[in-house]
């Protein structure tokens, strides 16, 4: 591993930020689709930035940064899911705030008002259905159906054959349809 001289710290941070700041919203949005909540999206993106920082010089030479970054984010996400599967680490989370807020977290098992409201609309249910997909299915639905990338572009980004992507997309959509058909809105639509 190459070392980072102390004197270059401010310069390197500025270069790093200049390269990635224009892509931060895009990366966060996709991270949010992958993880289905803001705290995990921030953690995923922060972990990615930590990994990318030592590669600042390499980033500066990448011709089209966006697909490169999306691939890195997807790899980071899939790695985090695999790590999570190997242990019950998802049971543990940090709680910020006063002692009262920590105690409130301990007491409350009910959904927050925001969570309750989410369940009442299609988008909320769709978010929940997306969260039920496995990692690879969620990746392809996010990139193709939500973000609007073509399968050939996703193939270039992820290095996954178009046939495999199509198959994942088909299965993922079938799962989403099955999840949504059980919901009241789909019943109302048929009236």
């Amino acid at each position: 591993m190459s070392s980072i001289p102390l004197t270059t710290f401010p310069t390197q941070v500025a270069t790093f930020e200049a390269l990635l700041a224009p892509e931060l919203d895009m990366l966060y949005r996709i991270a949010y689709r992958f993880t289905a909540n803001a705290a995990d999206a921030e953690d995923l993106l922060q972990d990615l930035l930590v990994k990318l920082y030592p590669k600042t010089d390499e980033l500066a030479t990448v011709e089209t940064l966006r697909p490169w970054l999306i691939r890195a984010l997807r790899n980071q996400y899939v790695d985090s899911v695999r790590k999570h599967r190997r242990s019950p680490s998802g049971w543990l989370r940090s709680v910020t705030g006063s002692d009262d807020e920590v105690l409130a977290e301990l007491r409350s098992g009910d959904p927050t008002p925001e969570e309750a409201a989410l369940k009442d609309d299609l988008q909320g249910r769709l978010q929940q259905a997306l969260a039920g997909l496995n990692a690879e299915h969620r990746v392809v639905v996010t990139l193709h159906d939500v973000e609007g990338y073509r399968l050939t572009e996703i193939q270039s980004m992820l290095g996954v054959p178009v046939g495999t992507l199509k198959s994942r997309l088909h299965r993922a959509r079938a799962q989403l349809r099955a999840a949504l058909e059980m919901e009241p809105l789909m019943q109302r639509r048929r009236v």
């Binding site: 941070v13 931060l24 242990s87 910020t96 098992g109 988008q123």
Partner: protein
């Protein structure tokens, strides 16, 4: 074209992946076939809902700190790697700083009691307060007979590595009690660099209707 030929092509049609002649034939069939028309409409609705999901943006606090924090953490990780060979002595001192408290009562003399119902998954929450962040702490849970954690059937004890952040860390355990469970003490231990803290909670198995708050997962 027949329905059996058209239905597998509807996804490709909406993904704009059919040649013009085939697309035209699929459209013509759907116009005359209520079943295929419904399938095409369902597919379109799903795509529309996905395409119009709200686009969340990062918080201003995250936006402001993300890059500097990434640089600091990357440098710390690099230094940690470089000094890993000499870290053992320093970690002994760090172990002393491990502070774990049972939050609600602060008293370890009498474990608090939590009511759980049989055959339903429900959370039991413990909070640990760490005086500083603890990388690679070992968490161990020991469960009473016939009480399990979701995803780990038949295991009465479970250990894993975790990073505790400075401050409060909430451990939410998906507990399931079998019908013949008698209850008992759930013990949680945290070990880090030779130091160990333990908290326990008494699980009381009750009829479902008596449990005031459960999480439906």
């Amino acid at each position: 074209m027949h329905c059996e030929q058209v239905q597998p092509l509807i996804e490709a049609l909406l993904d704009d992946e059919l040649d013009p002649a085939t697309a035209s034939n699929v459209h013509a069939h759907c116009a005359a076939c209520p079943s295929c028309q419904t399938q095409r409409r369902d597919e379109q609705m799903l795509r529309q809902a996905l395409r119009t999901l709200p686009a969340p943006v990062p918080s201003e606090a995250f936006r402001q700190r993300a890059f500097v924090r990434a640089a600091q953490l990357a440098r710390r990780r690099q230094r940690w790697t470089a000094w890993a060979g000499t870290a053992v002595a320093a970690s002994l001192a760090l172990g002393v700083a491990l502070g774990v408290q049972w939050r609600p009562s602060e008293s370890m003399a009498v474990p608090p009691t939590v009511a759980i119902s049989v055959d339903s998954l429900q959370p039991v929450r413990l909070s640990f307060t760490a005086e500083r962040s603890l990388q690679g702490a070992t968490l161990t849970l020991v469960l009473p007979d016939r009480i399990e954690l979701a995803g780990f059937p038949g295991q009465q004890s479970l250990s894993w590595q975790a990073d505790l952040k400075q401050g409060a860390n909430l451990l939410e355990l998906p507990v399931v009690a079998h019908a013949d469970a008698q209850g008992g003490e759930l013990i949680a231990r945290i070990r880090h660099n030779g130091a160990e803290r333990q908290v326990s909670v008494r699980l009381q198995v009750v009829a479902a209707a008596l449990v005031p708050s459960t999480l439906n997962l």
